[in-house]
Amino acid sequence: MKNLNKISVLLILLLGLTFTSCETTDLDLINDPNQITVENGDLERYMVAIQVDFARFASTMGSNGARLVRIEQMSAGSYVNAFEPIFTNYEWRLAYVNMFSDMKNAANLAIEKGSRGNHIAVMKILKAYTLITLVDYFGDVPRSEANDLSNFPAPSVDPGADVYAFAIATLTEARQELDLLGNLNLGTDYYYNNNFDQWKKLANTLLMQAYVNTNNTAAFNALANGNNFISETADDFVWEYTALINDEIDARAPGYQYDYTSGGATSYKSDYLMNAMLKDDAGIGSDGDPRRRYYFFRQNDCTPGALKDYTVAPEVEGNQCAVDPERLFCSTSPRPAHYPGSEMVYCSVDNGYWGRDHGFGGGIPPDTFKRTAYGVYPYAGNFDDNRFSSVGLGQGGGGAGITPIYLASWSHLMRAEMALANGGEAGTHLRKAMEISIAKVMSFGSKDGDANLATTDDGGFVPTTTTVNNYINTKMSNFGSGNAEYKWNTLGEQHLVAHYGNGSNSYNYYRRTGYPHTLQWTVEPAPGGFVRSLFYPADEANVNPNILQKPNVGVQVFWDNNPPSSAAGTGFPYAN
């Protein structure tokens, strides 16, 4: 027994040893095994992330603007509800959390590794675009205190004008960086494939755009006359998608993701834009805008409450489409009392175009096989060759489309605007803008391998050169003879059409000029005042004691000198 006692004491001691040497007493488990450390960051890998995030930013911001100016449909009855603070968290996060943080780390790496001026320049250009866009949409935004958590845990906003000035300086620096000797190429340049002359053109174009917003005619003219901006389609600044989708990534164009599903199309197109492009101006034939078959794909040839063919009299047998309370309830309701005369489109667009009115947010009826879907431009869906068939997975170009971020046609529209505002010759610029916009859009037809791409002369639906020329000539002739309002309306309408796929510029244009006056009004009678700037994102305003949420969406950005919008829907702009 005594032995046993000794043994047991020994046993306890041994156990004590195990206890102290055991892995459960390791108190240094600080590093997260689930992610790499900052030291393992790599410049080229950052550049990939920055370019991808930039495209997402440009695309989602562009969609916000598009909905406000009726390029796309806005689906909430009031402007306040359509742009609740929570809706822009993603965009804000892309800018500050993703891009700006990555740029900060990547710039350090680029400097460390030397001779990386191109990397720095690209980042500066993308950052300047982002900052300008943030100011354009949100007004005063954090810049000088942003992305410096240890010193500024709650960044304050900088005046929009200061941020603009900073962005303009950044673009100027970027141009200089591109000229440094010994610059290396980017591992992957998704935008310009390491053509840095094109990057320089982009920098100049963005500067011009900033000068337009701030009405700096002299600076604008200097650059315009330098003629080193995005003026030809080859220099277009776009993000290209592919048809790839798997567990990790969906690389298809966003509009395609919405509309080409086995359950039909899930987004609504803007009744205003479809109707405007279908009917267009006096003197334009029944084809309307040559781009409409590329922008919109109709699954249906007769929209309840509308005409099957608007060029045929309503009394003709079969031309009047029956109302349908199930799929298009508003086809049974009278026009809203507040809509002006019958020229303003309401509910049902003729010729089978099936969308929704500006500001209509009703429940979703089973209409996904009836709605008009995105076409082949810009998201690589189907070309509308009057096939009137249902959309489905993988159809058309498979989603290998683009998000336009800055197109040559937009530069010319910008020049036309400056000319028109300052008494110059706007027509040539407008003509050029239409020519290259239509050409670019029409080049997308071949993305849809199943489409009948025969011209109208050959029994197909692709506009002939003659049709296109007629269209442009008619437009230009009307423009030439029209009064100032007519000119501004025309320029505005062309602005919207050319910016299909990215409405940021058009939203700025609309706030600068108030045109076109022909926009469809909000279908709800009391939508509140127009959005002059967005609410700050909920994720920012809710947690940043130095940024108080705006009282409403009527706060004007620094360059917006137009009269205020009123809550009653009157005031600026004309069409609310």
Partner: protein
């Protein structure tokens, strides 16, 4: 002591007997306890004399007594019993009945130390075996519902095996885990819920506390306050549920050997369904349509709202062959079928080319959807000890098969425990126990739904079920297309057929778990003991989440067919080395003293690894090779906690008890601020022992006053101090990207601190009323926000921070009254427990509002002056004087920020109070128990109510042909208000100003509920009947759970059960996203002892 004393008595007796002349008899017999087991050591005294004896090991006794005298049987923990001796008496066999409110009760405290309850300066609730076993609920956590004050249990829904949340004394903190710690036989036991995905995409996982077999439990002690849990350190901060299993407690046995078998069968049904109206069918604005909503024409032909005026139904419109009262079959007109399956669609046409017709009438498929599940369980316990008490063993085996009321839901559990102990020498003894558990859980997917299918990327079984329009019978509508894809009534096939979901979408968790301990005790002498205990709890949880291709979730990946498999492994290793000293006494036994000092280390290691696959190639073939795309699932976390602790206890003359304890913890996942000391102290005073004058048989029997002070802390979990980069090998197509993580580490993160004071009174009055009152206050400081949202403009979205302060207080009251006590064998007891806990956020640093659960625009948040857990979201827009604003069309306007530009406060989900009433009647072997729960106050954001009302399904919406005017005001352009008088129709009222409104406030409901929690009726066969059988005890019990409830402030027709949490076992509360109904269970059990 007792033995010696009675020995002396016996000697005295022998002397007395010599002098007695009366007619003396020898009476013998057996004393047993209320379960029929022999009771050794019962004091047996002849009333009014010193004559007496004790029962022996087998409960037998012999005593000499005169005729006419009375024998008194007494034993601690049992009612004292008396028997008169007559000339005829020779044998008295007695079954003593247990006294539920035992004063000299011994309870298990921290680290398994047993103490007399009177010595404790803090509240401990004990729940005995009888209250737990043979319950219709197979999940221990649910069995505990309502059993005592201060503990709040919320279940995800009524599905068998779904997750639970166990909160003791309210939430302390909004980060980390607020769930109580489970300790089984001294071993920390993981109760994690590893749900699939987050609460939006998948809420299907079960809690690992399910692995405990309730039938193997002898006793549960719940340590609520911090003074009680100090020795557990940070792990015990949320309270501790100490479980003593039967197999693990053989040393307490009364008999040499015990065998217990219990078996039960219960039926499991959905507790209640909505009261659907049968007057109107699918459609909107009184027009027919194959919609989600049920605002269509009436099922009557003529008159306002009748189908006679609807072209689709009156036989005058639509496709050829139309007849009045029918509509073209949805599959004949489906645009989806026309586009994708024209051949299949053709089968829905008659030979003459007309579409088949579908009758316009109300249908009841939702009622048919649920089944009656069966819950079968068997549980056996064997335990015994050697004659000399040196060796003991225990073994238990249990099996449960719990079939849910939802098709496809089932959980089975098998437990096997073996345990034993041996005293090797006088000084050295060893003990050990090992339990193996196998749990197999299956369920159709449960995920959040906002009222139009599942909200996330997966399917949800309840997401499309409850609001099936009354004109739809999904049993009449085939759910499978020829290639196996889902098809349903909607024109665009946007809804996944519920029956397709049941058949094709599955989630399962198969768990293999082993936990056990080994301990060695060395007694240096009678006072000093050294113990080492090592324990391990490890489980391997295999998860499979799969869905055949052809689903209709709208998510292209899910609809292509998914197969996700992953394994969660969790390992808790725990060591404890304790030196303790007991029974020291000084100053002539006036002062007692004990001490304890220990060291412990605990490591928790969690690994998840698995594969996601999508794009299924062959329908119904589930192997990763059968899928085109593959991704990974991986996560690792490891943390160690090392602690040292000590305790000093003093008592003076057994009427004042003082206790001091403290613990220092170190954690492994932070570099700075990784250690903390928590002291606690408590005192207990027994006035009835000091001032015997205040004590009387029919007045105050016993009084105890107690006070405690305790502290604890919560350390940040995960890896809070480091900032990393996310690496993505498909940053774009084939290019790898790295991007700054949106979480930025905080190297200065500190533990959050809890300080608690508690005061209590325990009393026994009139020999029949027991009262236990506790009041506590608690302050949480330096709250950790594990992923605190920070301004995005800082370049990060989240960090870990310490901010602020929360004050909370609460009352826990327990009263137990014997209304009738042993009056002609009839007992009637009423037990009531009452809980209220209130909290107030008093400081959150520079922040206006911190949203910590749910969404950023609707969820639980912390805001100064509001209770912790308050729901914040958008509300109806108000004027400056608080009037509700109605827009020109007659609908409410909404606003996110309130007058302070902060997200609006919508309500407090914490109940005002919770009361549980339990009535127990006993007569001879019969017993009847009824338990009623009343939860008063608290709010819930309910998508179930919102959707059923908004889609016009229940009887609440049957009166719908008139117009409605929302109470509120219109504000004109000049800010002038006028009373709203715009009329709106039914869909505007219920749909647009209900669940479809941007104002979340419209879906907030009061969650008060009264519930008949339990009714049970038991019968224990009399011992006499069992004399000739091998059984020591036979008990039959019929019981029923949750047979009735009424959430009296919610719309009547919904029959909504607010005890549900859509946010799983996380810190979110007060949210229901069509999460599923509760269950009711009823059936029988038989319990046999040998």
């Amino acid at each position: 002591m007792r033995t010696k004393f009675s020995g002396i008595l016996t000697l005295l007796l022998a002397f007395v007997v010599q002098l007695t002349f009366a007619q003396e008899k020898t009476i013998s017999g057996t004393v047993s306890d209320n379960s029929g087991l022999p009771l050794p050591g019962v004091n047996i005294i002849v009333k009014g004399t010193n004559n007496g004896t004790q029962s022996d090991f087998d409960g037998n006794y012999t005593v000499n007594v005169d005729v006419g005298q009375t024998i008194v049987f007494s034993y601690v923990g049992f009612y004292t019993d008396e028997r008169a001796v007559t000339a005829a008496t020779s044998n008295i066999n007695l079954q003593m009945s247990e006294d539920a409110a035992v004063l000299e009760e011994v309870v298990v405290t921290a680290l398994g130390i047993k103490k007399e309850k009177k010595a404790l300066g803090y509240a401990v609730s004990s729940i005995k075996e009888e209250a737990i076993k043979d319950s219709p609920e197979t999940d221990l956590t649910r069995v505990l519902q309502g059993k005592t004050a201060g503990i709040e249990i919320t279940t995800a829904n009524g599905m068998s095996g779904s997750a639970n949340k166990v909160i003791i004394r309210g939430m302390n903190s909004f980060s980390g885990n607020n769930n109580a710690l489970y300790v089984v036989d001294g071993v920390p036991y993981s109760s994690d819920a590893n749900a699939a995905g987050n609460f939006i995409d998948g809420n299907s996982g079960s809690s690992r506390s399910f692995d405990i077999d309730p039938n193997n439990i002898e006793n549960i002690d719940i340590l609520k306050g911090l003074a009680a849990t100090t020795l557990y350190g940070t792990a015990g901060r949320n309270g501790v549920i100490l479980i003593t299993t039967k197999a693990g407690s053989t040393s307490n046995m009364k008999a040499k050997q015990e065998v217990e078998v219990s078996t039960s069968y219960f039926f499991n049904e959905v507790a209640s369904l909505p009261d659907y109206q049968d007057k109107y069918g699918g459609g909107f604005d009184q027009a027919f349509g194959w919609f989600y909503s049920n605002w269509g024409p009436g099922f009557y032909e003529d008159g306002l709202g009748g189908y006679g005026s609807d072209q689709a139904l009156n036989g005058q419109g639509g496709l050829p062959g139309a007849t009045s009262g029918t509509v073209a079959h949805p599959y004949a007109t489906s645009a989806f079928l026309a586009a994708n399956y024209p051949d299949y669609q053709a089968t829905w046409y008659q030979e003459n080319g007309d579409a088949k017709r579908y009758d316009w009438k109300p249908r009841n498929s939702v009622e048919q959807f649920f089944r009656t599940g069966g819950v079968a369980s068997i549980s056996t316990n064997f335990r015994g000890r050697s004659e000399d008490g040196k060796y003991n063993y225990g073994m238990s085996f249990g099996h449960v098969n719990d079939e849910g009321f939802t098709p496809g839901n089932q959980i089975t559990r098998t437990n096997l425990t073996i345990s034993g102990g041996a005293k090797l020498t006088n000084k050295l003894s060893v003990r050990g126990s090992m339990t193996y558990t196998k749990t197999d859980f299956k369920t159709p997917p449960v995920a959040a739904s906002y009222g139009s299918s599942a909200g996330g990327s997966g399917s949800s079984i309840f997401g499309d079920l409850f609001y099936t329009p009354r004109s739809i019978d999904f049993y009449e509508l085939p759910f499978e297309l020829p290639d196996g894809s889902s098809i349903y009534y909607r024109d665009d096939n946007a809804i996944q057929h519920p029956l397709w979901t049941v058949q094709n979408s599955k989630f399962s968790q198969k768990v293999n778990r082993v936990n056990g301990f080994a301990s060695i005790d060395y007694n240096f002498n009678d006072n000093i003991n050294l113990r080492y205990q090592g324990s391990v709890d490890t489980y391997s949880e295999n998860n499979v989440n799969s869905q055949n291709r052809g689903g209709r979730t709208g998510n292209i990946i899910t609809d292509s067919g998914i197969y996700n498999t992953w394994n969660n492994t969790n390992l808790i290793t725990d060591h404890n080395l304790v030196l303790s000293g007991n029974n020291y006494s000084f100053f002539n036994d006036h002062l007692g003293f004990n001490f304890m000092a220990g060291a412990t280390s605990r490591g928790t290691k969690y690994d998840r690894i698995g594969v996601n696959s999508s794009d299924q190639q062959v329908f119904d073939f589930f192997a990763h090779e059968g899928f085109v795309n593959h991704g990974y699932i991986e996560y690792h976390e490891e943390r160690n906690i090392v602690g040292v602790y000590g305790q000093l206890g003093f008592d003076f003359n057994n009427w004042i008890f003082l206790n001091f304890s403290g613990r220092q913890d170190w954690v492994s996942n932070t570099e700075k601020n990784n250690t903390l000391f928590y002291p606690s102290t408590s005192v207990s005073i027994i006035p009835t022992s000091v001032f015997s004058g205040i004590k009387s048989e029919n007045g105050l029997n016993y009084l105890k006053l107690r006070a405690g002070y305790g502290t604890s802390a919560n350390f940040a979990t995960g890896y809070p101090t480091v900032t990393g980069l996310s690496l993505n090998t498909q940053g774009w197509i084939d290019n790898t990207s790295n991007t700054t993580n949106s979480f930025v580490g905080n190297p200065n993160i500190k533990p959050e601190l809890f300080t608690e004071f508690e005061y209590g009174i325990e009393a026994k009055l009139f020999s029949r009323l027991n009262i236990d009152l506790t009041y506590y206050t608690r302050i949480t400081n330096d709250l950790i926000i594990q992923t605190a949202p920070i301004p995005l403009s800082t370049g990060a979205a989240f960090t870990s921070t310490n901010i602020g302060e929360i004050e909370s207080w609460g009352i826990e009251a327990i009263a137990d009254l014997d209304i009738l006590k042993r009056s002609e064998g009839f007992n009637w007891n009423i037990a009531v427990n009452f809980t209220t806990s209130e909290s107030k956020v008093t400081d959150i640093g520079d922040n206006d509002l911190i949203m910590y659960a749910g969404f950023t625009n609707l969820g639980n948040g912390a805001r100064v002056g509001y209770p912790l857990g308050s729901i914040f979201g958008s509300r109806i827009k108000r004027t400056s004087t608080g009037e509700l604003i109605v827009d020109g069309a007659g609908n409410y306007e909404s606003e996110d920020p309130d007058e302070d530009q902060i997200l609006s406060f919508l309500g407090d989900p914490n109940p005002d109070f919770v009361m549980n009433y339990t009535n127990t009647f006993e007569y001879k072997g019969w017993s009847l128990t009824m338990a009623v729960n009343h939860t008063s106050g608290g709010v819930i954001y309910s998508t179930t109510i919102g959707t059923l009302m908004g889609r016009g399904l229940t009887t609440d919406t049957e009166d719908r042909l008139s117009t409605y005017i929302l109470p509120g005001v219109n504000v004109d352009a000049n800010g002038v208000t006028t009373v709203n008088n715009t009329q709106i129709n039914n869909s505007n009222f219920y749909f647009d100003n209900g669940f479809a409104s941007p104002a979340s406030e419209l879906m907030i409901y009061d969650a008060s509920v009264i519930r008949l929690r339990e009714v049970s009726f038991g019968y224990s066969l009399p011992t006499k009947m069992l004399d000739k059988t091998p059984f020591g005890k036979v008990v039959f019990k019929a019981s029923a759970y949750n047979m009735w409830y009424n959430a009296y402030n919610t719309p009547d027709g919904i029959n909504f059960d607010p005890n549900t949490t859509a946010l799983g076992d996380g810190n979110g509360q007060g949210f229901d996203y069509l999460t599923g109904p509760s269950s009711k269970r009823y059936g029988m059990s038989v319990n046999l002892s040998f």
